[in-house]
């Protein structure tokens, strides 16, 4: 396949705005007479508010209004950014109210203050006196599930949902007859997204009394729907505007701050009210990556053939349901997807309520957790059998066409096998993997690898729908309106490339506004699920094809030749055979718009529903050096090789891979959310929560195996989320290669490695 604009390193559409400071994020916009909101947050992790005294706050000069749970109708709404469903049972759990007197985690919202400036608002929020009746605090799923535990949500038994599945034959007899059985327990800490822009939004009522919400969100259309639920008002009563967004990683796929600003704005007669979370609020009162405990059991033969696997997954959901059981289900659905040759699987999974901050979507939606278990477990098995871990993987993978029986999706992992071969060569796997075994001494090197498979979009878990409007302006340029959401990942850029490729309009002449506005942007569920390139991309191509057809039709009329003889390239209508330029698109557009007889706007609006998925795959290889005496791990080399189908833009694709690896390094070695026994946070700031810095990374590598997706636009699959999936298990496996020690918890920080090395007798 050869392309002119797709598959090329074009300059991002938004990059000049971002290096000059012209890109306006939510905090950079303002309204006249802006008021500022601050929230009164729970200082206990579980309890009832016995009494609340707002008088001191109300007396503070500059305070306009204090609103508590008592002042608002207690309407329950869901917060998670899933598509809505017409089937009531499939809808998300509605367990959240704007403010509450039953607080379920530290930082839960009790009341809000509106004041003339943010300093006064925050000061007033501190002056609100709250007395609590404390309830038992459960930080671990096991505690919340104990007989007689206090229900965090009435009637829930502290279970969001539990279920199980079996594929193939009953695994228990297979374990009995296998040569070997290995059972391992993995304990994975909760972590945070840490996008640099905190949650922020403001709301006001416009001249027609509609409620306008400007928010740093990944899901403007879903925000509109959830606000409609939360305030029992029609969807169309709300207008959501999404300016430039400073990162989301799934945390802005929940509706968190928006109902709060709407409630406060309505309480002051629709005046604009802005809430910007502090970093500390962001750490406890948005979403986390689920803390998960996974037990994996495998039965296998001495030659490395794995016969059956069983997973027991316990996900700690925190104080509210948010994404419900969906993330845990995704773990279960992904558990067997890479190594289908194993054939016999059983998975039991449960999501619990606890008094941790609420868990939700975070880059790769549960797959990092299950992959850490699956890929670590493989290396443990390889170690038992004295097999090369790459060879063990090869034995249990197949190039046959596959079907995930849990999701029903057909796929193949041929690209993954090629990626593994390329990666082995790049890191000199065969030499190093052997040479690094059985080292002694203070510093030891090791190599490790881990694979993944990942969905492109959310079908068949959720319906996939995207709209696209494209207009050719009077100068022959294209202008696109999409409901898809640019949050930094580069989606606007790849959509423009697709439109340019399809129509023959040059990339520079395809325009898009980074801002999404539900009043003007067509429906699209938003930025999540590694869906936009694959799903919205198809809508863009569909619309661009219509525009291309219109160009040919108009040109045929104007030039009086058959449209089949024409094509478009470099902003000109050309003769298909000779490539000769016949008419500029500027002329064509001008003549079409202003034709006195048959003037026409060159525009189209499409809707595209997608009922397919295109599994993308990849592998991470890494080489590490471990200091046995201190538990410090130095990453010497690390790279991912992805099969994401056709790479639409190599620059932005590499950027995604680097960012995913970086987040994976943090997950593997540094990051964890810590709480004391009462559920109060210990490291809710960017000093104590250890995000990697420039000095904690080696050079990061990104490479691609480009298989062609039959369903994706220009053969593309998704890429963004899974880039972070294989990092942690690859590093864990490299530590195993270096030291012979199996570390089965995250993060593998120096304290953790010290304990592991001590237990193993290395210290």
């Amino acid at each position: 396949m050869s392309f002119k604009c797709v598959n090329q390193r074009v300059i991002r559409k938004d990059i000049v705005a971002k290096v000059t400071g012209r890109a306006r994020y939510t905090a950079d916009r303002t309204e006249r007479e802006m008021l500022y909101g601050a929230l009164v947050r729970s200082k206990v992790a579980h309890g009832y508010v016995k009494s609340i005294d707002t008088s001191k706050a109300e007396q503070l000069p500059g305070v306009i209004k204090v609103v508590t749970y008592d002042d608002l109708k207690a309407i329950k709404f869901p917060t998670c950014g899933h598509p809505h469903s017409v089937i009531v049972e499939k809808r998300d759990i509605a367990d959240k109210t704007v403010f509450t007197n039953h607080v379920r985690h530290f930082g839960d919202e009790i009341a809000g203050v509106v004041a003339v400036d943010s300093y006064t608002a925050r000061k007033a929020a501190e002056l609100v006196e709250v007395e609590y009746e404390k309830l038992p605090v459960y930080l671990e799923s096991e505690e919340a599930l104990q007989e007689g535990a206090k229900e965090i949500h009435d009637g829930s038994k502290n279970i969001v949902k539990e279920d199980e599945y079996e594929l193939g034959s009953d695994v228990e007899p297979i374990f009995e007859s296998a040569d070997y059985v290995l059972e391992e327990d993995y304990d994975i800490s909760p972590v945070k997204h840490c996008h640099l822009e905190n949650q922020i939004a403001y709301a006001y009522q416009d001249a027609e009394q509609r409620i306008v919400v400007v928010s740093a969100t990944q899901i403007p259309h879903i925000v509109r729907r959830i606000l409609s639920q939360a305030f029992e008002l029609p969807y169309s009563k709300f207008r959501i505007i999404k300016p430039y967004v400073g990162g989301g990683f799934g945390n802005k796929q929940d509706v968190v701050v928006e109902p709060q600003v709407v409630a406060l704005s309505l309480a002051v007669g629709g005046k604009p009210v802005l809430i910007e979370y502090s970093r500390e609020e962001q750490m406890v009162a948005t979403r986390t990556r689920h803390a998960v405990k996974i037990s994996l059991k495998s039965g296998f033969n001495k030659d490395g053939e794995i016969l059956a696997q069983k997973a027991v997954i316990v996900s700690n959901g925190g104080g509210y349901a948010a994404h419900g059981h969906a993330i845990t289900e995704t773990m279960a659905g992904n558990f067997m997807q890479t190594y289908m040759s194993i054939k016999n699987f059983k998975s039991e999974q449960i999501t619990t309520y606890t008094n941790l901050p609420v868990a939700g979507a975070m880059r790769a939606y549960g797959v990092p957790q299950i992959s850490f278990a699956v890929e670590s477990h493989l290396d443990s098995i390889a170690g038992m059998l004295q097999l090369d871990p790459a060879a063990l993987r090869d034995i249990n993978m197949t190039e046959d066409d596959l079907n995930n029986e849990f999701t029903g999706v057909d796929y193949s992992i041929k690209g993954l096998k090629e990626a593994i071969e390329r990666g082995k060569e790049r890191i000199s796997w065969n030499e190093k993997q052997k040479a690094y075994q059985g080292q002694i001494g203070e510093k030891r090197k090791g190599v490790g690898m881990a694979c993944f498979t990942f969905d492109s979009g959310t079908w068949p878990y959720y319906p996939e729908l995207a709209g696209a409007n494209i207009t050719m302006n009077q100068d022959g340029h294209l202008y696109m309106h999409l409901g898809a959401v640019e949050i930094g990942q580069g989606s606007d850029t790849v959509f423009c490339q697709m439109a340019a490729e399809t129509t023959g309009v040059s990339y520079d002449n395809v325009h898009i506004n980074s801002l999404t506005d539900t009043d003007y942007s067509p429906f699209d569920t938003g930025a999540y699920g590694t869906r936009q390139t694959y799903i919205t991309g198809q809508a863009v191509v569909k619309a661009a094809e219509i525009i291309y057809g219109k160009i040919l039709e108009k040109a045929a009329n104007l030039l009086d030749v058959g449209s089949e003889k024409l094509d478009v390239a470099d902003d000109y209508v050309i003769d298909k055979a000779s490539k000769r330029q016949l008419m500029s698109l500027a002329d064509l557009a001008l003549n079409t718009y202003y034709n006195e007889e048959s003037g026409e706007v060159i525009t189209c609006s499409v809707s595209n529903q997608v009922k397919s998925n295109s599994i993308n795959t990849g592998v991470c290889f890494t080489e590490v050096e471990v200091d046995i005496t201190t538990g410090k791990v130095d990453i010497l080399d690390i790279f991912n090789i992805h099969d994401c189908g056709t790479v639409i833009n190599p620059d932005t694709a590499e950027g995604q891979v680097h960012g995913g690896i970086s987040m994976g390094i943090g997950y593997a070695l540094m990051e964890t959310m810590l709480f004391n026994k009462d559920g109060l946070p210990l490291n809710d700031n960017l000093l104590d929560y250890k995000l990697p810095t420039t000095l904690d990374h080696p050079d990061l590598g990104a490479d691609f195996v480009e298989t062609y997706s039959e369903t994706g636009p220009f053969g593309a699959k998704g890429l963004s989320e899974p880039t972070t999936v294989p990092t942690a298990p690859a590093i864990r496996n490299a530590i195993l290669n270096a030291t012979g020690v199996k570390v089965n918890s995250l993060p593998m920080n120096p304290q953790c490695l010290f304990e592991n090395f001590k237990d193993a007798g290395l210290i």
Binding site: R9, I11, R12, D14, I15, V16, A17, K18, V19, T20, G21, A23, R24, Y25, A27, D28, H193, C194, H195, L196, E197, N198, Y244, V245, G246, G247, F249, E276, S278, R279, I487, G488, Q489, G490, D651, T652, E654, G655, H658, G659, G660, I661, S662, M663, N685, L686, L687, L691, T693, T694, L695, H697, D699, L700
Partner: protein, 154 residues
């Protein structure tokens, strides 16, 4: 606690009334509309609010505005010369070093500070010079590469 301060902001002399309790970040954003200067953490841990004060990169969130009196402040808004991006901005564009962009003005401030030393730096030195900025999108890879490229530009 109001007070008048005089600063040179991106080459222009400005006089502004501040509250002595205000951070330079607040004054730059709310009173002088330099919105490239971002609030990320409020405690000098993320570097999104860095500005050049007399040529030195400082986190403006923990710098009292009153200290800026009489000083020269530069932000990314003032980096362009005659409509041309500065060497670092240009390199960041060419290398595609930007994703969400929220941390980028801060990085550009430190990268420009480095460029103005007219010295050469190893990759490790570049990494150290940028280590006061957090980025969650890029893994720093293209940012480091772009900074090196910017250092090489005329």
């Amino acid at each position: 606690m109001l007070k008048q301060i005089n600063i040179t902001l991106n080459g222009v002399e400005r006089s502004v009334e501040i509250d002595e309790r205000e951070s330079l970040l607040e004054v730059l954003r709310d009173k002088l509309y330099m919105t490239s200067v971002k609030h990320g953490c409020g405690v000098g841990e993320c570097g999104a609010c860095a500005v050049l004060i007399d040529g030195v990169a400082i986190d403006s969130c923990i710098y009292l505005a009153t200290w800026a009196d009489g000083k020269e402040i530069r932000t990314v808004e003032g980096f362009e010369q005659d409509g041309e991006l500065n060497a670092m901005q240009e390199a960041f564009v060419e290398e595609g070093a930007v994703q969400c962009g929220f941390c980028i003005p801060g990085f550009l401030v430190s990268a420009t500070e480095l460029k103005e030393t007219n010295k050469s730096y190893t990759r490790d030195e570049v990494r150290k010079a940028l280590s006061g900025h957090l980025c969650r999108c890029t893994g720093y890879q293209k940012i480091v590469e772009a900074t090196e490229k910017g250092l090489e530009k005329e």
